[in-house]
Symmetry: C2
Subunit: 372 residues, 2 copies
């Protein structure tokens, strides 16, 4: 490669960070450079590629725990909204504006930073007066078709969830009425709302519409999207092997299936800390049903490699740690003597059991997850 | 591996996040699982391992650009300070307390979060009223022996740098006098300072002593530290290959040498955006010397895999991007016509030139950097 061309490439990289990442991805498929190809992958690689290069309908049968119904993988349907919509633009202003908090210091973007895939990179978010709640900030990317929101499903609508952080005393510590007063007193916002909603009075429904329109529009196409759309060369041998493990022996699609890689259900995987310092009963706090103790919403795996740390409490810093946990059959805390007869002490879901994945299969699984 | 043992391992992982990472590291050295071993590494691997398993004095000769003097790799001398020191403890309280900011919302830890290796994961930090400066927050780990601070070296002492963010209008937007008033009015702090410094009056020297004592004590032992200390099995074949590339053909030790992987000098690598929107003249803003235009302090590479994004302006999201930049000989912006005769328009350092590293060498270099 000539020096001029290299400088051209370097300039491209400097000008465009996305291009930079794409360049890296492309390099991984160069046939002369397959450093990930260990014995197992090399042996199975050719056969797997031949199958997975074909249409999804011909891919190997999915395995799930206890034959749980699953939804097949499919390209993600993306929202028709665009950054040109006035409502989306207004939502974007609001999303980055600390005017939504009483202190004038916290914005939605404080805990959902675009540079961090609209999450914050830390175990649990830090809000007003540096308070911290118990739960990890999820990414907001590709949520347009999500039916339940928050780790415990405490919200069932996009419009509703958008307002919850404003009144949460640990997050923005404000109240909707004060926010509406501040917005209505702001000439720029009055004119922006006028343009988007043809109203002279900013109300709760306009506020939640604008905020949720912007969040619905947040989407990023991943390497796996392009693979699903037909560019099968986007995944290298190890990643195809990981896709196969994901669909078969690791039984991941028991819960993480469909275009969003989630069943939208609530499961107890044993991280509830029942009766201990970090207890979080999850879904039970909303439903008060005993079977919901310690259950949390199955998160989408979309963009998962960019949203560490993981789990409702940000417990795991890396995907390798989670894969190891599931390989061992999940966490199964036993009740201490004082909880032996407690009817609320939860059982970890039967859907998890020992997987016996080889180190190579686990590494491939992580590599596959990194394409999502 | 028995189910009981796997549950034991999983429990260990859940109880101790550090252990979780160590477990992952250890797995990479399992002899039956070397998915990173491509042709070049397999061929050279045995010979390299034999050499690098021996003492540092016998390692292959270091190559630097223009034979720049370098300091040999060596285990890091760590501070004698411990978390038991009263001054360190007091510094820790202060570090996490937004009392240092006028808004009561920003603490040192806002931009130097322990979960993010004491950085913040974003291109440039967000401070008071969600303002953002032009420069990336560095990690604070293993800085005990650092002679200059800030990207432009505007501070030459640990005690001095610790106070700078307090008065920076974009960061904590406070002033030392107000902070001292707030601290002296706080009974708990009065008693903590009394215990640490035997003084009834909290002054600027006590404040900076406590803050810097805590920051000096921040250290984490990396996989490469253990390798240097003699546990040569801590690096796998690809990483040893990367170490070799780092020392030889990539000429990294031209600037990143010694136990801290920095020459503590200022260099212009071409990311100054002279005369453009994101212009940052770096060291020149401190010295007003023409040769310092666009020069920034060589950052340590310690913990570099945990401190993305990179460069003074957080331009690169990944190490692969930086390696590609250096492989191409750095950025060499040419002046537009209006700057053709501008004596201040900087030349990128001669220490950078085209490297011609293979994709495999670049991947190994990244793998090595991830051990630091």
């Amino acid at each position: 490669m000539s020096r001029i061309f290299k400088i051209f490439i370097a300039t491209l990289l400097i000008c465009n960070l996305t291009a930079c990442e794409d360049e890296t991805s492309l390099q991984q498929t160069e046939p002369t450079n397959v450093p990930e190809c260990g014995p197992q992958i090399c042996t199975q690689g050719a056969a797997l590629r031949a199958v997975y290069d074909g249409p999804i309908a011909g891919w190997p049968t999915v395995q799930t725990s206890e034959d749980t119904p699953f939804e097949e993988m499919a390209p993600l349907e993306r929202p028709a909204l665009s950054s040109q919509d006035l409502e989306v633009q207004l939502g974007e202003y609001l999303f980055f504006d600390p005017i939504l908090s009483d202190s004038g210091q916290i914005a939605c973007a404080s805990c959902h930073n675009p540079d961090l895939a609209f999450a914050d990179g830390i175990r649990s978010a830090i809000g007003d007066r540096r308070q911290s709640g118990p739960r990890n900030s999820p990414t907001l990317l590709d949520k347009a078709n999500q039916p339940h929101f928050m780790w415990d499903g405490s919200s069932d609508s996009f419009e509703h969830q958008a307002l919850l952080p404003i009144e949460n005393p640990v997050e923005m510590a404000s109240d909707i009425e004060s926010v509406l007063q501040r917005l209505n007193a702001d000439e720029t916002y009055r004119s922006r709302f006028q343009n988007a909603f043809q109203t002279t009075q900013i109300g709760i429904s306009e506020l939640s519409s604008a905020l949720s329109a912007y969040q619905r529009a947040l989407t990023r196409r991943s390497r796996f999207d392009r693979f699903l759309e037909g560019e099968r060369g986007r995944l290298n041998d190890q990643e195809v092997f990981g896709l196969h493990v994901f669909r078969t022996s690791a039984r991941c699609m028991t819960c993480h299936s469909g275009p969003r890689f989630t069943d939208d259900q609530f499961h107890n995987i044993g991280l509830h800390y029942y009766g201990r310092r970090f207890q979080d009963l999850g879904r039970y706090e909303i439903t008060n049903n005993a079977e919901d103790v310690g259950a949390f919403r199955t998160p989408s795996l979309r963009h998962v490699s960019r949203t560490a740390p993981y789990m409702h409490n940000g417990l795991f810093p890396s995907l390798a740690g989670i894969v190891n946990l599931y390989n061992a059959g999940g966490a199964r805390p036993r009740p201490r003597a004082e909880f032996a007869d407690d009817p609320l002490f939860p059982e970890t879901t039967d859907l998890l059991s020992e997987l016996d994945l080889s180190p190579e299969e686990r590494a491939a699984l992580v590599a596959f997850l990194e394409t999502l």
